[in-house]
Homo-oligomer: 379 residues x 2
Amino acid sequence: MPSHFQLLKTDTATAARRGRLQTLHGVIETPIFMPVGTQGTVKAVTPVQLREVGAQIILGNTYHLNLRPGSELVRDMGGLHKFMGWDGPILTDSGGFQVFSLSKLRNIQDDGIAFQSHLDGAKLFLGPREVMTIQANLGSDIAMVIDECPPWPCTRDECRAAVDRSYRWAKLCKQIATDNGFLAGGHHVFAIAQGSTYDDLRREAAESLAELDFPGYAVGGVSVGEPEPEMLKQVAATTPFMPAGKPRYTMGLGTPSQILKMIGLGVDMFDCVHPTRVSRNGAAFTPDGMINLRNERYRADSSPLVEGLDNYTCRQFSRAYLRHLVMANEILASTLLTIHNLHFYLDLVAQARARIEAGDFAAWSKAWISRYEAGEASG
Amino acid sequence: MPSHFQLLKTDTATAARRGRLQTLHGVIETPIFMPVGTQGTVKAVTPVQLREVGAQIILGNTYHLNLRPGSELVRDMGGLHKFMGWDGPILTDSGGFQVFSLSKLRNIQDDGIAFQSHLDGAKLFLGPREVMTIQANLGSDIAMVIDECPPWPCTRDECRAAVDRSYRWAKLCKQIATDNGFLAGGHHVFAIAQGSTYDDLRREAAESLAELDFPGYAVGGVSVGEPEPEMLKQVAATTPFMPAGKPRYTMGLGTPSQILKMIGLGVDMFDCVHPTRVSRNGAAFTPDGMINLRNERYRADSSPLVEGLDNYTCRQFSRAYLRHLVMANEILASTLLTIHNLHFYLDLVAQARARIEAGDFAAWSKAWISRYEAGEASG
């Protein structure tokens, strides 16, 4: 049986990889960025617009969808793909991270986490059985195991306990997905390696999970408040101990330059609300950093957001018009900026793929990051 | 020289007309509904989506665009079409109506209206010279004269004064548009007949403006608080005295059934914020009346908003999904409902055109209105 993941090329100067991941809803070329569709929609854009900007796979959030409209309803409506009108691959998180970041009165137990809904205070419980059932209801192409994400900073004992519990839960998730036919049906389940800032625990987490032979692996517990160098150090302490033949994913990251840095560390998949969130605040990415259209300097600027970038927003609209929409609080501002900002991210990873293939990823990414960060610093 | 307006057919059982209006940015098949783009965008949809739902012409609001971003800026950016990325025809109102409905401390003078901006209280003035200059800056295909819209109800003396002043201003607007080459350049200017509930003043307004030979004529001062029968009576008291060979437009109207009733009175063009506004409140039109998706009954409703209606929203999404988006306050709810509701209006006028051509408009519109209003009453 051919593997679901083909490693097409590994960079010699960095750990960057060019790969191809097969899912039930199509092939994903990696490295890839995955737009986030928290509540069954990537905010402010249609599935058609997502395709137009080059989205290959999107995220759904188990925590949110399970609270509203409920995973049984989504299942009864034909699954998440049909429900939201997106026929490409969907990755769903397990909901564990949102339990830690959003819910009230959580209580970690051996078989899961008891918590209260942030919407109405309802008492809920998520453990391996629940998250695998919910993600099966949603029909995820890639389901994530439930894990315990320790805070930053945390003590070694806290981290040790989180790594151990995450391992037990991951093993149980895989067992459930095997028993109920989820894996045999062609769906994937990815494990998540924790370990906080403890390099040896990061390695232990990655190696122990590797033995369980998951279809893919994620670095969890990064970007939870730590500075960027610490975050990159944690990723670098984890990826070398993940199986080379499986896709690697850092959850919830990052800025454009962070994504290039992590590609250089051997990461294949990324998701982040950053490009969609800043769009709703009037900001746009450029190769010289992020700009905010509320700035008076764009009032009569007839140039596009990025000259020559081939998306609807850059082809059709001036900075002056986009600024007008932002100042007038028009919904179309969010839509057009989301189109641009998602395309900027997806174009960036497409460029990274081409550079890995061409063999000059290291020099290109260094120059790209240098220009971007210089613009951010002066902007 | 061929006329800019061809009257293709006039119904025998009603006063309905099938026509074709030539503008600088293309041909408009009438009767037509014109989506409203108040601030340089039809709220929540892109120009591409407008084309997909069958929009032939859209509206821009002179009052709003002149306050923000300013008509000189729009002119400097290449005109409103280029600014907002819409290459079809645009009709702009004169801004007079918004001065009456939105601004503070207005003072009607012989040569225009002094008022304060509703945004920042700035002291402004709009008269024939100003509104024609602004609409030339915007590059409107169809500019409207400035008029005085009396309140409902008003005394005969108030109405008489408004009709007289509106006539003088209309004459001056036409003179300005002649002198500055606006009309010769192929732009149109439409006059507006006032007259409130006084049938003889309505007739006088229509006949006196007809003598000025405008490219088109509007019924103004309707839907300002009066009940529907009174509104239809005012339209019926005006249209017979407008030139048959020119397009007729009722400003700011109406519900789907009102539009069919006014087509039957010989009106060719309509605009209204109703379909775009209700979209942002979770409502959708159906042949059986308007429904609100917040209603619990749609929670697990897998059917489209309207079975067989060929728009993106009805082809791809269930009522259950749209309800979920509405309940979760997602921007996509506004976009998908606006797509549906605008298409519903544009499909309705397309059906009306076909029925006028086929000669059975009267029976069809009666049955359509009957079903729609029965649904509204029971909904």
